[in-house]
């Protein structure tokens, strides 16, 4: 197991290097400059390029990025908060923490509500409750987040005035309600659908029939036998989703004025703030790689028959 983790970490570093190179190349292939405004001249852009070292050859710039990342230096913002260190923006200004908090609550909600709903639907297959849940979850995965977020905002903040319009830095419970619901609704519904399908598969397996014949009670049958097996596809899905959801949502953060990482990442691309694009991509990629590793280990916990290492390891 330890050997496996070491191997995975080595592969992760290599993957990150490839990601850095590809991001750098793509970023420079797209036309534009962080210093372009309606009133910028070629001379002004050249001066700004010289100031931030963007006039150096591309391979030198790439090498500098890699060298700085190895030292833990994520660079300095050129545009969005000119002159401020990117690590300060991401970590010390609380952007990552905000997106992470929001994402974890949304994920928690998706799991805590989605999985039981899927189980209920599967167990009551063909009954009205299954039909009802199927309609709700289908609508849930079809409705875009911005529609739901706007609907919640107008209803609960503007009309009823029960919840704050500006969630800001999420200072209290009320400020979490709408962003978390907006962010988790799609995932809750998707997890419910996924759980229902895999639970139905599990329920029809021979070992469940045998257990039922042996007189195992329905509750124990679902919770102890069927659920565990049916969770594997859900975990497979949740791994990458977790990385995505905790690193922020542009739509939710924009709608509720939350200064999180998701919004910042999208804006960095539009503003061509190269160091911010590179740094956020590296941080997000590292998270995705980490989450994939966690998922692989979680497989093992859920299903001891799965082996993580090959025989040679």
């Amino acid at each position: 197991m330890a050997g496996y983790i070491v191997k995975r970490i080595a592969v992760a570093i290599l993957t990150l290097l490839v990601i850095i190179c590809i991001t750098f190349l793509l970023m420079n292939a797209v036309p534009g400059s962080p210093f372009l405004t309606e009133k910028s001249t070629p001379e002004m852009i050249a001066r700004a390029n010289a100031k931030y070292g963007l006039d150096k050859p591309l391979y030198v710039q790439l090498f500098n990025y890699i060298k700085n990342y190895a030292r833990g230096d994520l660079g300095t913002s050129l545009k969005m908060q000119e002159g401020t260190s990117v690590s300060k923006i991401i970590f010390h200004q609380g952007k990552f923490a905000l997106s992470l908090k929001l994402g974890l609550y949304a994920l928690l909600l998706a799991v805590v509500i989605g999985i039981p709903l899927g189980c209920i639907a599967a167990y009551n297959r063909g009954k009205w409750i299954d039909g009802f849940l199927r309609v709700v979850t289908t609508v849930g995965v079809a409705v875009p987040t911005f529609v739901l977020a706007t609907l919640l905002l107008v209803t609960f903040a503007v009309k009823l005035q029960k919840l704050p319009t500006l969630s800001g830095s999420l200072p209290d419970f009320k400020s979490y309600v709408m962003p978390v619901i907006s962010l988790s609704f799609y995932y809750t519904c998707y997890v419910a659908k996924l759980t229902r399908t895999s639970m139905l598969d599990a329920i029809n397996q021979d070992y469940i029939r045998t257990a039922r014949a042996k007189g195992v009670k329905t509750r124990a049958l679902i919770l102890k036998h069927a659920l565990r097996n049916s969770l594997i596809p859900v975990i497979t899905y949740l791994g990458p989703v977790m990385a995505g959801i905790i690193t922020g949502s542009f739509v939710v953060e924009s709608t509720f004025s939350i200064p999180g990482l998701g919004k910042y990442f999208v804006q960095s691309v539009l503003s061509r703030d190269y160091p911010v694009i590179m740094a956020t991509t590296v941080v997000l990629s590292a998270l995705v790689i980490l989450m994939n590793l966690v998922v692989d280990i979680a497989y093992k916990i859920v299903d001891p028959r799965i082996t993580l290492t090959s025989k040679e390891d």
Binding site: M1, A2, I5, V30, P31, G32, S33, P34, F35, L36, T37, E38, K39, S40, T41, P42, E43, M44, R47, K51, Q81, E82, G83, T84, F91, Q93, G94, K95, F96, A97, L98, L100, K101, L104, T150, L153, V154, A157, V158, P164, T165, L166, G168, S169, L170, P171, S254, T255, F256, S257, P259, G260, Y264, L270, S271, R272, V294, I297, K300, I301
Partner: protein, 593 residues
């Protein structure tokens, strides 16, 4: 094995919790009382306007906090680096220049709570001008201090101006003093040292500025946000000098808290000479770009003032008495690329056949004024007349054509279309234009730009039979394309930097960086050069009027002005708010309505 898994999961959880623990700053407290402004000998606070006090006005001892949202997170609030209107607004609240904007008893729109401003002496107590009008000597006020108690010195202006033009600063407004203040252009070009800029501190209270040539709008420029004084010991060597903990200002307010991408909170600067008369106890500038969220916050009472909201709701908001429309000195226009659309008659036909009334009434719907020239309405000539209508009611866009084609009725859209068709057909008949050519119209991603492009494209197709292709690009790609001149038609907006026609007309001078349509006319260039070196007066006015008529005469039409901008805002519960046509709002003397 199990231990390893447990350890790894525990580490993950710890990591997550640690990150969660980095709590961002809480929302700004509405109740914290700001430091009491130093009492000085200034007269008592001006009475609020005649607007009756609202019944639900807060108790007298409750702090008066303005919650405003004018834009999203600013790129910077460093006056030497700012280039946006919001960045300038924050600067105007924190710093005061030699000249400043003062409210006058006049409303820019039909909102009695909003007042126009004029440029008056600010940090300067007086100024003298030399006989050749090239040397300005400012004497600073005796009662001006930085927010740390240090006196404001003439050297602070020298440092700030030199820093602005220093190529190493790479300021967006580094060009601002080019050809105005002595040696500014040469310093920008790297040919001279910044110490050779035509500004020097004669002593701590006397500032001498030498110009290249007389400049009619120099005093107006001295109110501009990029030229405010800065303290060298505060700025130098500290990349984070604009952080609330480090910043030192000389204006009425000072930022005390900045939660990035959330809000900027300003409180009165107790060392400001007029601190006793300031209005709000705090101004919280909320930083958001979601129009829906901004409007929702305004409607739920969390914001008192907003600038950006969905345009399709303007009519409703105006009807409810929330939304007002101010004039804004800016022109929305299209570049007609002279290297692609080579015949001026085709360009003139395109300019004539755009139904501007339709665009402002049905597309933009924000009270914009159909453009009749390139120089924006609100820019005045030396007699105080609006330059856009200085020659005739028709405007510069049509004046020359009317003289060339006296029989045409250019006062109506039908008459304009008739002449447009005639000019276009002439060009086609003479082989100067291939009617099968497809013109590419580029615009940057925006529903409004798209709708305007569709309206113009429809008019050109309908009236002239031209083939138009619309191409949408995101901003950075779009601006890159502009400088490569690959477009047929491309949009842009230009907001005046100062109140003088030159701010627009010089964009079309041969070789100017913003002359994206590659227009070139010797007589136009000569008129602008001469006007820039002339004093305000009838002769200079005549040069500028003639230049704009040349721009829209035979061989011209490199731009197709669409409309003059307006500035829309929603305001509730405030009065005595100041405004300039450049788009800046001032809240420092605001009162509760």
């Amino acid at each position: 094995m199990k231990k390893t898994i447990a350890l790894l999961l525990a580490l993950c959880m710890l990591f997550a919790l640690a990150a969660c623990g980095q709590s961002a700053a809480p929302a700004p407290a509405a109740n914290d009382t700001p430091a009491a402004p130093a009492s000085n000998d200034a007269p008592a606070a001006p009475a609020a306007n005649d607007a009756p006090a609202s019944n639900d006005a807060p108790a007298a001892d409750e702090p008066f906090v303005i919650n405003a949202c004018i834009a999203s997170e600013p790129e910077t609030i460093d006056p030497g680096l700012i280039s946006s209107v919001d960045g300038s607004t924050y600067t105007q609240h924190q710093f005061e220049n030699l000249m400043k904007y003062k409210m006058v008893a006049e409303n820019p729109a039909d909102d009695a709570n909003m007042q126009n401003t004029e440029v008056v002496l600010g940090q300067a107590a007086s100024y003298e001008v030399s006989d050749d009008l090239c040397v300005y000597t400012f004497t600073l006020r005796d009662d001006i201090f930085w927010s740390d108690g240090e006196p404001v010195k003439a050297g602070d202006f020298v440092y700030s101006w030199q820093r602005l033009v220093d190529p190493a600063t790479a300021s967006d407004y580094g060009y601002f003093l080019d050809n105005i203040v002595l040696n500014a252009a040469a310093i920008q070009a790297g040919e001279k040292d910044k110490s050779e800029l035509g500004i020097k501190a004669v002593d701590d209270k006397t500032l001498e500025i030498t110009l290249e040539a007389p400049c009619a709008y120099f005093l107006e420029m001295c109110a501009f946000a990029s030229l405010v004084p800065l303290r060298q010991d505060v700025v130098e060597g500290n990349d984070n000098w604009t952080d609330p903990a480090n910043i030192v200002v000389n204006g009425p307010y000072k930022v005390v808290e900045w939660v990035h991408d959330s809000y900027l909170r300003m409180e009165p600067n107790e060392y400001y000479y007029d601190a006793a008369n300031l209005g709000p106890d705090a101004i919280v500038w909320w930083l958001s770009d979601s129009e829906t969220a901004i409007l929702s916050a305004y409607q739920s009472g969390e914001y008192d003032f907003i600038e950006n909201f969905p345009t399709d709701l303007i009519a409703d908001l105006q009807a409810s008495g929330d939304c007002f429309i101010n004039p804004y000195v800016g022109t929305y226009y299209l570049y007609l690329n002279c290297s692609k659309i080579t015949d001026w008659r085709v360009r003139a036909a395109m300019v004539l056949s755009v139904d501007r009334d339709n665009i402002v009434e049905n597309v933009t719907q924000g009270g914009q004024v159909p453009a009749t020239g390139f120089v924006a309405s609100g820019i005045l000539d030396s007699t105080g007349t609006d330059f856009a209508f200085g020659v005739s009611e028709l405007g510069a866009l049509y004046n020359t054509l009317q003289k060339m084609y006296p029989d045409a009725d250019l006062s109506t859209y039908a008459g304009k279309c008739e002449l447009a068709k005639q000019l276009y057909d002439e060009a086609v008949a003479e082989g100067a234009w291939d009617s099968g050519t497809t013109v590419v119209y580029n615009f940057n991603t925006s529903e409004t730009h798209k709708a305007i492009a569709e309206a113009c494209g429809h008019d050109w197709q309908d009236v002239l039979g031209m083939n138009i292709t619309l191409e949408n690009q995101e901003w950075a790609t779009y601006t890159n394309g502009l400088s490569e001149h690959g477009f047929g038609v491309a949009r842009l907006g230009w907001i005046a930097d100062y109140n003088d026609p030159v701010t627009y007309l010089e964009l079309m001078v041969t070789g100017n960086s913003y002359n994206y349509g590659l227009y070139s006319d010797e007589s136009f260039d000569a008129d602008i050069t001469q006007a820039k070196a002339s004093l305000a007066g009838p002769e200079r006015d005549a040069l500028l009027y003639r230049a704009e008529e040349t721009l829209f005469g035979e061989g011209g039409f490199p731009v197709c002005p669409i409309y003059y901008y307006t500035n829309m805002y929603c305001m509730n519960g405030l009065t005595n708010v100041g405004y300039t046509g450049m788009g800046y709002f001032f809240f420092w003397y605001a009162q509760q309505a």
